[in-house]
Subunit: 191 residues, 2 copies
C-alpha cells in the first residue's frame, strides 16, 4: 500500500491512471529503449484510452519527466546515525540501492538523454538540489556536533560523482566496499 | 578537410552519404531531442533517399551508435609532456574540450540513454577501454621515469568521474581551475 497511498489521497481514478501509465512507461522503456515505442503503446499497456494519455502528458518526454519528478519527490529520509561517517555511509548506500536494479538504471540513462529538451531543466535542478540539500543537512548536523566536515562540493566530487559514473557506464560494482573506499578518500573514517 | 579525410579514403560516395547522414542526425538530435524525429527526417535533412538510410542503419539507435563509434575512433593523441602532472592536465583539458559544446553534450546524453539497447554494450566497452587505455599509457611512462603514480581506477574516480558528472548534469563549469583542483586531490602537483 505504501507506494501508492500518497497519490491516492490526491484523487481516486486519476491517480490510479497515473500510476498505471507510469508503470507501463517504465516497463516499455526497459524492454524496448527510448525512441522505440509510442504514446499509444503506453496507453495500451496501461489499459487506458490513448486520448487520456495524450490529454494529460502530450508527448513521451513529458511523461518521462513526470515519472522522474515523481521518483525524486518520493520521501527519502536523510540518515541520522549520530556521526557524519555513518550518515554519509548510509546516504551513499541509499543512493546505491535507489539507482541499482535494471529499470532504475534505464530511467536514469533516459533522463540524462532528455536533460536538453523541454522539462529537462526542471528535472536537472530538482535532482541536484535534492541531492545537495540532503548532503548539506548531514554536514550541518556534523558541524553543530563540532565534527570536522568537508564541503558539499567535495562530497559530490569524491563520493557521488564516482558512484554515478560507475552506474551510468557500468564501469564496476557500486557496493559496500566501493562506498567505503570513496569515503576514506574523502577523509571520513567509516569503520 | 581534416575531419572527413579518413572517411573519404574508405570509399567515395558511400562515405559522403555517411558523413551527411551523421551530420543530419546530430543536428536533429540537438534541435529536437531523441525520440522526436524519425529515420525519414534524417534522410530528408541529409538529402538522401529514405531507403539508403534504412538499408544501411535500419533503426535510429543503430545510427546513433555509428555516430558515436566514429567519434570514439577519431585519433586522439595521448599527451606526452615529460611529466605525469602535465600529461594528466592536458588529458583532462582534452576531455573537457571534447565533451564541451552543445552538440557534444547532447550526443553524450543520448548515448548514455541507449547503453541498454542493441549496440550499447559495444559503445560502452569502447568508451571505457579507450579512456582507461589512454590513462594507462600515461601512467606507464610515468612509472618508467620513476615517478610516483596513482592507480588507473583512482584517476577515473578522482578526475574523470567528477568531470563527466558536472557535464552530464550541468552541475558546474569544467574549466582549468576545476581540473587543477581534481588533480591536486589526486596528489599530483600540477603548477
Amino acid at each position: 500500500m505504501t507506494p501508492t497511498a500518497p497519490a491516492r489521497r490526491t484523487g481516486g481514478r486519476s491517480a490510479r491512471v497515473r500510476a498505471a501509465v507510469h508503470r507501463a512507461f517504465t516497463e516499455l522503456l526497459t524492454e524496448r529503449g527510448y525512441g522505440n515505442f509510442a504514446v499509444g503503446d503506453v496507453a495500451e499497456r496501461a489499459g487506458v484510452a490513448d486520448s487520456s494519455v495524450y490529454r494529460r502528458w502530450g508527448r513521451l518526454d513529458a511523461l518521462l519527466m513526470d515519472v522522474l519528478v515523481d521518483r525524486l519527490n518520493t520521501d527519502w529520509p536523510v540518515p541520522d546515525t549520530g556521526g557524519l561517517a555513518g550518515d554519509l555511509r548510509e546516504f551513499a548506500l541509499n543512493v546505491a540501492r535507489g539507482v541499482n536494479g535494471p529499470d532504475a538504471l534505464t530511467v536514469l540513462r533516459t533522463v540524462i538523454a532528455l536533460l536538453d529538451v523541454e522539462g529537462g531543466e526542471e528535472v536537472r535542478r530538482l535532482f541536484l538540489s535534492q541531492r545537495t540539500g540532503q548532503i548539506e543537512a548531514m554536514l550541518d548536523r556534523a558541524r553543530a556536533r563540532g565534527e570536522r566536515t568537508p564541503e558539499v562540493g567535495d562530497v559530490v566530487d569524491v563520493v557521488m560523482a564516482p558512484m554515478y559514473f560507475r552506474y551510468v557506464f557500468s564501469a564496476g560494482p557500486v557496493d559496500d566496499a566501493y562506498v567505503r573506499k570513496l569515503l576514506e578518500r574523502l577523509g571520513v573514517v567509516v569503520f
